[in-house]
Every structure is written in C-alpha cells, then in structure tokens.
C-alpha cells in the first residue's frame, strides 16, 4: 500500500484549543474566527525532504555538540523513540529537531530572564533524521524546571521541545516532551491546555531502565505520532492527489 492518500482529519479536540486564558500570551495571539476547512491538495500532500548531508556527526549529542572546554553538566539521558503515523507505521527520513534549557533550567537565549547560570558547554539544540523504521535517538542532559512570567510563581515542568517534519507539510508538528513522574506537568498552564488527560499523557516520556547506558545515562522513551493517511485501493485518485 503506497502512501498516496489524503490525511485523516486533525482532531482539534485532542490538541490544545487556540485560546487557553491560563496561558496569558494565547489571549492576543489566538485566532477568533473559524479556520477554513480544506481537503488536502498537492500543496499540503507534499513536503520538504532533508537528507543526511545536512547533519553533522554530533548533531544529536547535546552533551558534546556545543562543548568548548568540557562536556555539558547535568543528569545524562538518552531520549529515543519512533516517529509513527496514526496507522502505526514508522516514518523514515523524518527530520526531528529539539531544543531545551540546561540542567539548571536556563536557556541560552537573549530574551531569557531566569537567573540560573549558563553552562558554557551546553548550547541546547540538536537534530537527527529517523531511520528506516522511524527510530531516532538523542543524548543530552535532563533540563531543569524554570520560572516564567505568566501568573505569579508559574514554573514550567522539565521539558524538551520537539519539531517534526513528516512526509508532507500537512504533518508538520511542534510539541513538547515531559518526564515521567513530574508533578508539575499537571500544574502547568501550557501542558494542561491539552484538554484530555489521556492526550497529555501522550506527551510524557517513560523512564526506560532497560535502555540506560551502563555507568553513563538513563533513558526516556518518547514516541511521536503524526497524522495518518488513507491508503485504501479504492480511493479516488484525482489529479493533484
């Protein structure tokens, strides 16, 4: 079965709605009018292709990819998983980009307002491309929680940002990965913008003791699901599909 069909409709009720007033910035940045529904055209069914030629050898190892005088400091972790579609099929050749705060919860960014120190050996970005089964992995340090200006004394739970390109622009997704056992996930106005508890649990990576590296790092498993596409032999293949 070829991947040629149109995509399953995005379940907007599974995603956070545009307006989540407890996350204050969403108030002025959320569209108020209904989006225009459009069946997929060739403009949405295609998407950019990124080859391994863009990758450097250390792009997916955040402990060393910015290192100046030593390695990044913090609890060392492997983050791994698969990029799948809603049919459960692994997606190969998918560019996965991540960014995160350092172990103290500080981002290397000029607009950062938190006093925790920068780590001179940690930049905070990484990227990789999934293999033929949709697998990816990163090596990094566990990011710290940090305070942010929303309501007084709001803190973000530890998280890693993920940006994923699928096989088509209709699958484009940015999300965040949280860590198993963190009580602050359920207090976070951004995380809890996801209305369904089961949906939010989909963003919580599982601690996987079986895949820790001996005397080096713990492992967290985080699978990512992108939109699935119809692939029945009966789909009406009109021009443009």
């Amino acid at each position: 079965m070829k991947e040629t069909g149109t995509f399953y409709r995005r379940d907007r009720g599974w995603h956070p709605p545009p307006l989540t007033p407890q996350y204050k910035t969403s108030v002025l940045r959320s569209p108020r009018l209904a989006p225009l529904s459009l069946e997929n055209t060739i403009s949405e069914l295609t998407g950019p292709v990124f080859g391994h030629d863009i990758l450097g050898a250390r792009d997916n190892d955040l402990i060393v990819n910015y290192a100046k005088s030593g390695e990044a400091i913090g609890p060392r972790i492997n983050v791994y998983g698969r990029v799948l579609d809603e049919n459960g099929r692994g997606l190969d050749g998918v560019l996965v980009e991540i960014w995160q705060a350092n172990a103290g919860g500080r981002y290397r960014h000029k607009k950062e307002g938190y006093d925790a120190p920068l780590d001179p050996n940690f930049g905070g970005c990484g990227r990789t491309i999934t293999d033929s089964d949709g697998r990816y992995w990163f090596r990094t340090v566990k990011p710290g929680p940090y305070p942010w200006p929303n309501r007084v004394n709001d803190w973000r739970p530890a998280h890693i940002h993920f940006s994923i390109f699928g096989h088509a622009f209709a699958q484009r997704l940015i999300t965040q990965m949280y860590f198993e056992g963190d009580p602050m996930i359920w207090q976070c106005p951004i995380a809890t913008g996801v209305p369904d508890r089961e949906a939010l649990e989909q963003l919580v990576a599982a601690l996987d003791r079986n895949n820790s590296t001996h005397m080096d790092s713990l492992a967290y498993k985080f699978d990512i699901v992108l939109r699935g596409r119809r692939s029945t032999p009966f789909e009406n293949k009109r021009e443009g599909n």
């Binding site: 956070p16 989006p35 225009l36 960014w99 960014h109």
Partner: protein, 208 residues
C-alpha cells in the same frame, strides 16, 4: 463489541515557546558552530528558474503589535508549479530550488523576510488550477497549534478570481487577507504580506 480500529492518535501540539530560535535558527539566535547553516535560510540556487522575489511582512497580535518571537516556514512550488518533494508524482521539480524556507521575525522590528521565486500554479484536487500561492506556517509563544495559511499574489488577480480555494470563502472580503501586495523597485519585486492573528481583518487560517 466490535473490532478495534487500532488507529493511534496524533501527538498533541504544544506551543513553540519564546526560545524556538535555539532549535530552529540557532545561528540567528547566536548559537554558532553547531549547525553550519540554519535550515531553510537559502531557498534559491544560482541556476534556479523563475522570477526572483522578496516577501516581507509582520505577524500582528490582537492589538496590532508585531510578534518579535515568531518563526515562519513557507512551502511552495517551483516556477513550473512542481514541488521539490518525494511526494511529487507529476514530474521533477527544479533541483536548484528547495521550495522550503524558514525565517524568524526580527527581534526589534518584528519583520520577516524571504528571498524566493514566484511559484507556478498547481492543480486543485479536481484538476482545476489553483492560483499561484505559497503555504505559510506560523509558530510562536502563545500559539498552541501551528497556524497554516496561504499567500496569494496581487498581480494574479485573474487567477485569484478563479481559484477554487479562494472561492470557498463565504465572506469574500476576507480574500484580501491572503493577497500580498506587489511593489517593484530596481527591477525586483517585493511582496508585502502581514499576518493578523485576530481582530479586524483577521487572516484566514486553514484547517487542512
């Protein structure tokens, strides 16, 4: 009981947050030496076919203030109307044009800028031509799910009037929110395209 469909659910979206530049445009954000070049920075090769154009604009919030921490990605066909994608089955796109661009809005002014080419028309699902357009995807702090929209061209009025997608809009005066205005200076076209997240003249966003 019936059989289970066994479909998975799409991973829920989360905001890109204020620090997306670290991951998406690290060189722009001052994190140098990790990636040789920011992804999507250069779209057009020297030998690419088509009219060179510049697109500039801002992303405006509900009070009309520009976002200074947004990231915009664009995706478009080449001059002949072919996408540089594995999913493109109609022919081979221009190898000197990527079709994909990514730019951050300026930290001070909030302006974004793309150097690209003018795309050709591509067909709608029923084979009728859609007017030339560029897909825009906008993410930023405060945007919970990335916003899809399209940019059309002010100098394609006849094609726009016949575009089956633009014809879908119940309130036709909203078409203007999708049309970039052309100006020519020094032999090069610049299209101005502001995106309004809410308020009067809110941009039409697409649920694709």
């Amino acid at each position: 009981m019936v059989q289970k469909l066994d479909h998975l659910k799409e991973t829920p979206s989360q905001t890109a947050g204020p620090y997306i530049h670290i991951g998406a445009t690290p060189n722009f954000s001052g994190i140098e030496g990790v990636y040789a070049q920011d992804l999507g920075k250069t779209m057009v090769g020297r030998d690419a076919k088509g009219e060179r154009i510049t697109i500039v604009g801002r992303v405006l919030d509900g009070l009309g203030e520009p976002l200074k921490d947004a990231l915009i990605e664009i995706w478009q066909a080449d001059a002949a109307g072919l996408y540089n994608s594995q999913q493109e089955k109609r022919g081979k796109a221009d190898p000197h044009f990527t079709g994909f661009g990514r730019q951050a809005t300026d930290y001070v002014t909030g302006e974004y800028r793309f150097e690209t080419i003018k795309p050709g028309a591509v067909p709608f699902v029923d084979g009728r031509p859609m007017a030339p357009h560029i897909t825009f995807w906008i993410v930023a702090r405060g945007i919970n799910v990335g916003l899809h929209t399209r940019m059309y061209f002010s100098d394609e009025a006849a094609a726009n009037a016949k575009c089956p997608v633009l014809a879908r809009l119940e309130h036709q005066r909203r078409v203007d929110s999708l049309v970039a205005q052309r100006s020519d200076k020094g032999g090069r076209a610049t299209y101005h395209f502001d995106i309004r997240l809410q308020g009067e003249n809110e941009t039409v966003f697409f649920d694709i």
